[in-house]
C-alpha cells in the first residue's frame, strides 16, 4: 500500500463556464495533518466538497484514490461510510438538542429500530472523554460556547469511525485558548493514527501543526510544502498564496486631493448579542474627503460587521467608542439615521439583503429614497422614471426597460442597480462591500470608473474587498482586518500583496 491515504488526481470542476478547479493534484499521507491554504475563492472548499461527495461522482473530472481504491461517491453518506468526515465552518449541530443526541444524530444506536438511549449516553461519555471535553452529555448544545461545540463535532466524527477528518477553518470563530485546545486535540488524534486535512487562514497555526501544506490559488495547485524539509514558513506560504501578476485593469484617477476627515472611528467596538462575542474590537479608522479606503482581510475578519456597525448599527450590536461624522459625534440607531446623514452601504450579498428581486429596476433604484420622488407621501411616477432612467444611462445598466425585474438581470447589472439605488440617496460616504464579486471584467471596469468619478466629485468611499488586486489598484490607503481588529494601516505606496496577507493571516 502506498504511503498516501488519499490521492486526488487531475481534479477539475466547472460552474457554468467558470473553472473552480483546474487539474488539481492533492495527496495526503496516512496519519499526517495536512493543511490546505489559499485565498478566499481559491477553490479549497470546492475541492473538499468534491472529496466528500457533495458534488457527486460524474460532476467533476479526475480520480479520487482513497485507501488504494478509486472511489465514486454519489452522496455524502458514501464518503462517511468509508471514514471520511468533514466538519464545516458553520457547525451542523442542533442547538435545541442535547450533547448526546447531537453526537449520534443520523448515526443512532438502535436495537430493533428503537433507540437505546442509555447505551447512547454511555457511548457519548466515552467520546467526550476522547476529545477532552468535560460536559454533562445531557447539556443542550445551545448552552455551550463555540469552542466546545467544535469539539462535539469532532466527537460526532469519531462516533463514525473516522479515518480522514476534514476541518474547514476550525479556529476561525474560536478564541486563543479554545484554538490551542483544539490544536492539541488534533495532535492527539494524529498520534492515534487519524489523518487530518485542515483548511486554515491562520498561518501561525499551520506552521505549528502541519506536517505538509498544499497551497491552492485560482483553482490550481501551486505546490505542496513539507515540514520535515523546513519548507513551511510564513514567507514561502504567502509567496505561494499571492504570487499572481496583477493585471492593470484599474482606471487611474487624475486628480488626488484629500480634504478633511469625513468619518472617524475611535476605539470602536461592536458586540454581537447573538454570537456572544465582539465582532469588531477597538477599531481606529478615518476616511478623508475624496479618498478611497481599502478595507482588506479574509472572510470572517469583521469587515462587513464593521460596515454594519457604522451604517446606523443595522444589526443592533452593543457599540462602544466614538463615531465622528465631519468631526461631530453621532449615535445612529437605525440605517435611516445614517442615510439621512449621508452614509450609504452597498451590501456584499446583493441578492440576499441588497435588492428586491421581485420588483423592477425603477422601484429598486428609488427604494432607499422614495421621499426624493414624492410630495406629501404620494409618489410622482414620472419623477421616478426620470431618476431611474438617469441612473440607467449613467451607470450603463443593460436592460430592455426600467420595468424589468431585477431578479432577471445579470450580476453586473444587479450591482449597478444597487449602486444606483445608493447614489440616489446622495451620500457623502459610500461603503462598498465586495463591489465586484461575481461580476465580469467589463462590468468591473465600469464600476471602477464610476467610483473614480464619484471620488473626483468629492465623495469618499470605503471599499471592502477580498481581492488584493482590487485593493491595491483602487485604494488611496489600506486598512487590514483580522479577527475583528484592524491589524494595520498601509499608505498605498507601501502596500503590497505580501504585506497585506501577512497582516490578514495574523
Amino acid at each position: 500500500m502506498s504511503e498516501y491515504i488519499l490521492e486526488m488526481n487531475q481534479i477539475s470542476k466547472e460552474f457554468t463556464g467558470v473553472k473552480a478547479l483546474d487539474n488539481v493534484n492533492f495527496k495526503v499521507k496516512k496519519g499526517e495533518i495536512h493543511c490546505l491554504v489559499g485565498e478566499n475563492g481559491a477553490g479549497k472548499s470546492t475541492l473538499m466538497k468534491v472529496l466528500s461527495g457533495v458534488y457527486p461522482y460524474g460532476t467533476y473530472e479526475g480520480d479520487i484514490v482513497y485507501e488504494g481504491r478509486v472511489q465514486q461517491f454519489n452522496k455524502i453518506s458514501d464518503s462517511v461510510n468509508t471514514g471520511i468526515v468533514i466538519i464545516y465552518q458553520e457547525l451542523a449541530l442542533f442547538p435545541d438538542l442535547t450533547v448526546y443526541e447531537n453526537i449520534f444524530a443520523g448515526n443512532e444506536i438502535k436495537q430493533g429500530g428503537v433507540i437505546n438511549w442509555n447505551e447512547t449516553i454511555v457511548e457519548a461519555k466515552k467520546l467526550l472523554a476522547k476529545v477532552n471535553l468535560d460536559v454533562n452529555p445531557e447539556t443542550l448544545v445551545k448552552d455551550l460556547g463555540v469552542g466546545k461545540r467544535q469539539l462535539i463535532e469532532i466527537a460526532k466524527a469519531l462516533s463514525k469511525d473516522v479515518k480522514l477528518l476534514i476541518l474547514d477553518e476550525p479556529t476561525a470563530a474560536l478564541n486563543e485558548d479554545d484554538s490551542e485546545n483544539l490544536l492539541r486535540l488534533l495532535d492527539g488524534l494524529r498520534k492515534q493514527g487519524i489523518t487530518c486535512i485542515m483548511i486554515s487562514h491562520k498561518l501561525k497555526e499551520v506552521i505549528s501543526i502541519a506536517d505538509s501544506a498544499t497551497v491552492i490559488r485560482d483553482g490550481q495547485t501551486i505546490g505542496t510544502l513539507d515540514a520535515s524539509k523546513g519548507e513551511i514558513t510564513e514567507n514561502t506560504i504567502i509567496k505561494n498564496m499571492v504570487g499572481r501578476e496583477i493585471q492593470d485593469i484599474y482606471p487611474k484617477r487624475t486628480k488626488k486631493a484629500f480634504g478633511d476627515k469625513v468619518l472617524e472611528l475611535k476605539n470602536w467596538s461592536a458586540y454581537d448579542h447573538k454570537l456572544g462575542r465582539h465582532v469588531v474590537k477597538n477599531a481606529n479608522l478615518n476616511v478623508r474627503k475624496g479618498e478611497i479606503i481599502g478595507l482588506a482581510g479574509l472572510m470572517g475578519s469583521g469587515r462587513t460587521e464593521l460596515a454594519l456597525s457604522i451604517f446606523g448599527n443595522a444589526k443592533s450590536y452593543k457599540l462602544q467608542g466614538d463615531l465622528l461624522l465631519d468631526e461631530v459625534p453621532k449615535a445612529w440607531k437605525h440605517p435611516s439615521d445614517a442615510i439621512k446623514d449621508g452614509i450609504a452601504y452597498v451590501t456584499e450579498d446583493r441578492k440576499g439583503d441588497g435588492l428586491f428581486l421581485l420588483q423592477d429596476i425603477k422601484s429598486n433604484i428609488s427604494a432607499a429614497n422614495l421621499h426624493g420622488i414624492a410630495s406629501k407621501g404620494v409618489i410622482n411616477d414620472n419623477e421616478e422614471i426620470k431618476v431611474a432612467n438617469g441612473f440607467k444611462t449613467s451607470l450603463h445598466i443593460k436592460a430592455a426597460s426600467l420595468e424589468q425585474l431585477v431578479g432577471k438581470l445579470s450580476g453586473g447589472n444587479q450591482q449597478k442597480v444597487s449602486l444606483g439605488k445608493w447614489l440616489f440617496v446622495g451620500p457623502k460616504l459610500l461603503i462598498l462591500d465586495e463591489p465586484t464579486r461575481g461580476i465580469d471584467v467589463g462590468a468591473k471596469f465600469e464600476i471602477y470608473t464610476v467610483m473614480n468619478k464619484l471620488i473626483e466629485e468629492g465623495m469618499s468611499i470605503i471599499m471592502i474587498s477580498s481581492e488584493l488586486g482590487e485593493i491595491l489598484g483602487m485604494s488611496d490607503r489600506v486598512y487590514v482586518m483580522a479577527e475583528g481588529e484592524i491589524k494595520g494601516e498601509l499608505p498605498i505606496a507601501e502596500a503590497d500583496q505580501e504585506k497585506i496577507m501577512q497582516l490578514a493571516t495574523q
Partner: protein, 391 residues
C-alpha cells in the same frame, strides 16, 4: 395578423394578471348558461356583490398582511365582535349611527395595532398571536350576546349600509339614473387616466402596447364597467355596500401603488433584510398593516351586522378563512412581496359567485365546500406554475 399576435403576446406576458379575470368570466358564463340566465340577472348580481362585501374588505386587508409575510386569523371574530358592539351601542345605548361607526372603526384599528405590537415588538409569530386573538374575540362575542341572544338592530340608517341603495333621483326607462352617472364617470375616468399614463410612458420611451391593442383594452374595460352598471341599474342601482367596496378599492389601490408607505409595505414583504438596510422601519410597516387590518375588520363587522340587521352569537365564523382564500385566489404570494388590491377583490367576487351560482343550481353544501376547495387549489397551482415559467 399582427393584432392577433399582439394579443397573444400580451396575454402570455400577463397571464398571471389576466388569469383571474378569465376565470371569473368563465365562472359567470357557466353559471349563466346552467341557470338559463338567472345568474346574470340584475337582482342576482346585485345580491351577489352585497353578500361579497364583508369578505371583500377583509380580503384586501389580509392580502397586505400576507404580503408582509404574516397572517391574521383573528379578523373573523373581531369583525363579529365589533358588529355586536355596534348593535349594542345602537340599541342598548341608543347612540346615533354617525357616532357608532367611527367608534367601531377606531376600536378595530386599536385591536389591529395591538396585534401589530405583539408581532413586531414582542416578536410572537403572527399565527400564534392571532390564534390567541381568534379565541379571545370568539369568547368576547359570546360574552356580549349571552344575555340578550341575537340583538335585532332597528335602525334604518344603519341597516341601509348592508341593504340599501343609493338614491336614484330619476328613473330613465326603468334604469337607475345616479348609478348610470357613476358608471359613466367611471368609464371617463378610466379612459382619461389610461391615456395620460400611456402618454407619459411614450414620453420616457417606455415599452407600450400597440395602438390597436390599447384601444382594444380601453374598449374591453369600458364595456365591462358599462355592463356591470347596466345590470345593477336594472335592479335598484348601486347599493351602499358596492359603493363602500369601491371606495375601499380606490383608497387601497392608491395607497399600495402611489404612496411611499405603500411601496414600503411591498419592500418589507419582498425582502425584509434589504428593506431594513434601505432605511425602512420594518416595525412601523408591520404596525400600519395590522392597524389597517383591524380597521377593515371593523368595517366588515359593520357591513355584516347591517346586512343581517342583527348581531348574532356566531357572527364572524370562518370569515378569516374565506378572506384568506379570496386573497390567494386573487394572486397573493405566500412568499411575500406580491399581491394586488384588485386581485383580492376579484378573488372575493370569484368565491361569492361560486356560492351564489351553486345555490341557484341547488348544489348541496357538502359539494359547495369541496368545489371551492378545488378552485382555491387550482388558483394557487396556476399561480405557482406561471411564476415558475416566468423565471
Amino acid at each position: 395578423m399582427t393584432l392577433i399576435n399582439d394579443v397573444k403576446t400580451l396575454i402570455s406576458k400577463n397571464i398571471r394578471d389576466y388569469g383571474m379575470y378569465i376565470a371569473l368570466f368563465v365562472i359567470f358564463l357557466i353559471f349563466t348558461i346552467l341557470t338559463d340566465g338567472l345568474f346574470i340577472s340584475s337582482r342576482n348580481i346585485s345580491n351577489l356583490l352585497d353578500s361579497a362585501g364583508y369578505i371583500a374588505v377583509l380580503a384586501v386587508g389580509v392580502m397586505l398582511v400576507i404580503v408582509i409575510r404574516h397572517i391574521d386569523l383573528s379578523i373573523g371574530f373581531l369583525a363579529g365582535f365589533l358588529g355586536a358592539i355596534a348593535a349594542i351601542l345602537l340599541m342598548q345605548y341608543g347612540l346615533p349611527v354617525y357616532i357608532v361607526i367611527p367608534i367601531i372603526l377606531i376600536l378595530g384599528t386599536i385591536a389591529g395595532l395591538f396585534t401589530g405590537f405583539l408581532v413586531a415588538k414582542v416578536g410572537i409569530p403572527a399565527f400564534v398571536a392571532t390564534l390567541a386573538g381568534w379565541l379571545i374575540y370568539r369568547g368576547a362575542i359570546i360574552q356580549v350576546t349571552e344575555k340578550s341572544g341575537t340583538i335585532i338592530v332597528q335602525n334604518d340608517a344603519f341597516n341601509a349600509i348592508g341593504n340599501g341603495y343609493i338614491p336614484s333621483f330619476m328613473q330613465i326607462g326603468g334604469l337607475h339614473l345616479l348609478s348610470l352617472l357613476i358608471g359613466a364617470i367611471g368609464i371617463v375616468f378610466y379612459i382619461y387616466s389610461s391615456i395620460s399614463n400611456r402618454r407619459n410612458k411614450i414620453k420616457y420611451n417606455f415599452e407600450v402596447v400597440s395602438k390597436q391593442i390599447f384601444m382594444l383594452q380601453l374598449l374591453f374595460v369600458s364595456l365591462i364597467i358599462a355592463a356591470i352598471t347596466w345590470i345593477l341599474a336594472g335592479y335598484n342601482g348601486f347599493s351602499w355596500t358596492v359603493i363602500i367596496i369601491l371606495l375601499v378599492v380606490l383608497v387601497y389601490h392608491f395607497f399600495t401603488t402611489k404612496t411611499v408607505l405603500g411601496r414600503h409595505v411591498y419592500a418589507v414583504g419582498s425582502n425584509p433584510e434589504a428593506a431594513h438596510l434601505s432605511g425602512i422601519n420594518v416595525n412601523k410597516i408591520t404596525y400600519i398593516v395590522f392597524g389597517s387590518m383591524g380597521l377593515l375588520s371593523a368595517l366588515s363587522g359593520i357591513l355584516f351586522t347591517s346586512r343581517l340587521q342583527a348581531a348574532t352569537t356566531t357572527a364572524g365564523t370562518l370569515f378569516e378563512l374565506d378572506a384568506i382564500a379570496a386573497a390567494y385566489v386573487g394572486g397573493v404570494s405566500a412568499a411575500g412581496g406580491v399581491g394586488k388590491v384588485t386581485g383580492a377583490i376579484i378573488g372575493a367576487i370569484v368565491m361569492a359567485s361560486l356560492t351564489s351560482g351553486m345555490n341557484l343550481l341547488g348544489v348541496g353544501i357538502s359539494y359547495q365546500y369541496m368545489i371551492k376547495g378545488g378552485v382555491l387549489a387550482l388558483a394557487v397551482i396556476f399561480d405557482v406554475m406561471t411564476r415558475r415559467k416566468g423565471n
